[in-house]
Point group: C2
């Protein structure tokens, strides 16, 4: 598949990255503060009006729908609206993946108050989101594959704070790849994951 | 377990709900606009400064950590920081669950640009989050149970927009309950889920 570049100019891509990265980090801080604030009602109301006005300014010119996917001239995929990795999505931590020559992929991320499920613990669905995305990236190295099934085994709660997730392909059978991974807190594994990922059938 | 009420006064609970609900909705709008805006760089920078100042005001007095769980005098659980259902968490859609006498639980939610994974589709991990939370609520009706394993079968992509999820307990064996559910778009089921939920052992 040939990727049609949306960012014809790499300088323009870099400029947007430098603009939107810090901007979205600021919105992430607001999301955290919205949960944790204990200031008086009148301050909440004043801040609410300020944010509504700021949002109206941003909406003066905007995309009709979601961000989707764009490509750089070098074929790099740009998914800035993505809920897992999106540079422009304040819901995304955002996840950043690393890998080595063996095919192992991993991510380190600090999950704060906005990712809470049971008191003091990461939401089980957020654990699933981190592992789903990591296993998908691991499975798609070289061949694009989509999630078929994902099985998560919750060994114990994952405390909010720094977590590490790692995954590797353990088998390939035709169009199916099996990927296994774990999520860990500093004391060890908290969630085990196994996914079956499937590459699309070749066009006839 | 006796719940210690944190909101001794129900009027105070209602007051806070009426204050923080609309406030957090305003922050959700900002998260959406942050992804979709196409305004000029100087407007982005101006809005960034405005939001940073607003966040500082909120942080003038705040909780040390995450929101955790509180209780109303009637024993109602208040998890306003929760990533799935949190009234004060702009990451949460927030999910609202309904149920009938048969034990079936369901939720209807509109997932917009902030929940994107593949272009135009809901992130697989967000599908997992909705189903994890719904199945957990379904499993915990009457008896508190925690997720042991969760298996998700992705039949096809789930388009962004209105989704419906439903779940029911299909079997109980000692401390284990098996719950099955589905996520659907208007055209039918997109993800099937099965979870094993476990109640804590009785204290010796």
């Amino acid at each position: 598949m040939t990727s049609i570049p949306d960012y014809v100019d790499l300088d323009e891509f870099d400029r947007q990255k430098a603009l939107y990265g810090p901007f979205t980090d600021t919105v992430r801080e607001l999301v955290d503060a919205t949960i944790r604030t204990e200031v008086d009602d009148e301050v909440i109301r004043e801040v609410q009006a300020t944010i509504a006005a700021a949002t109206a300014k941003l909406r003066a010119r905007q995309l009709d729908g979601a961000f989707g996917r764009r490509f750089t001239p070098t074929g790099q995929s740009v998914m800035w609206g993505n809920a897992g990795v999106g540079l422009r999505n304040a819901i995304a931590p955002p996840l950043v993946f690393e890998s080595d020559e063996s095919g192992r992929h991993w991510t380190d991320v600090n999950l704060g108050a906005a990712y809470e499920g049971p008191p003091g613990l990461v939401h089980g669905g957020v654990c699933a989101l981190v592992l789903d995305h990591l296993l998908g990236v691991t499975a798609s190295k070289g061949t694009r594959r989509f999630t078929g099934t994902l099985t998560l085994r919750y060994l114990r709660g994952t405390p909010l704070g720094p977590v590490h997730a790692t995954a590797t392909i353990v088998g390939v059978d035709g169009r199916k790849a099996t990927v296994r991974g774990t999520l860990s807190d500093p004391d060890g594994v908290t969630v085990e994951a196994e996914g079956i990922f499937i590459s699309p059938a070749a066009p006839n």
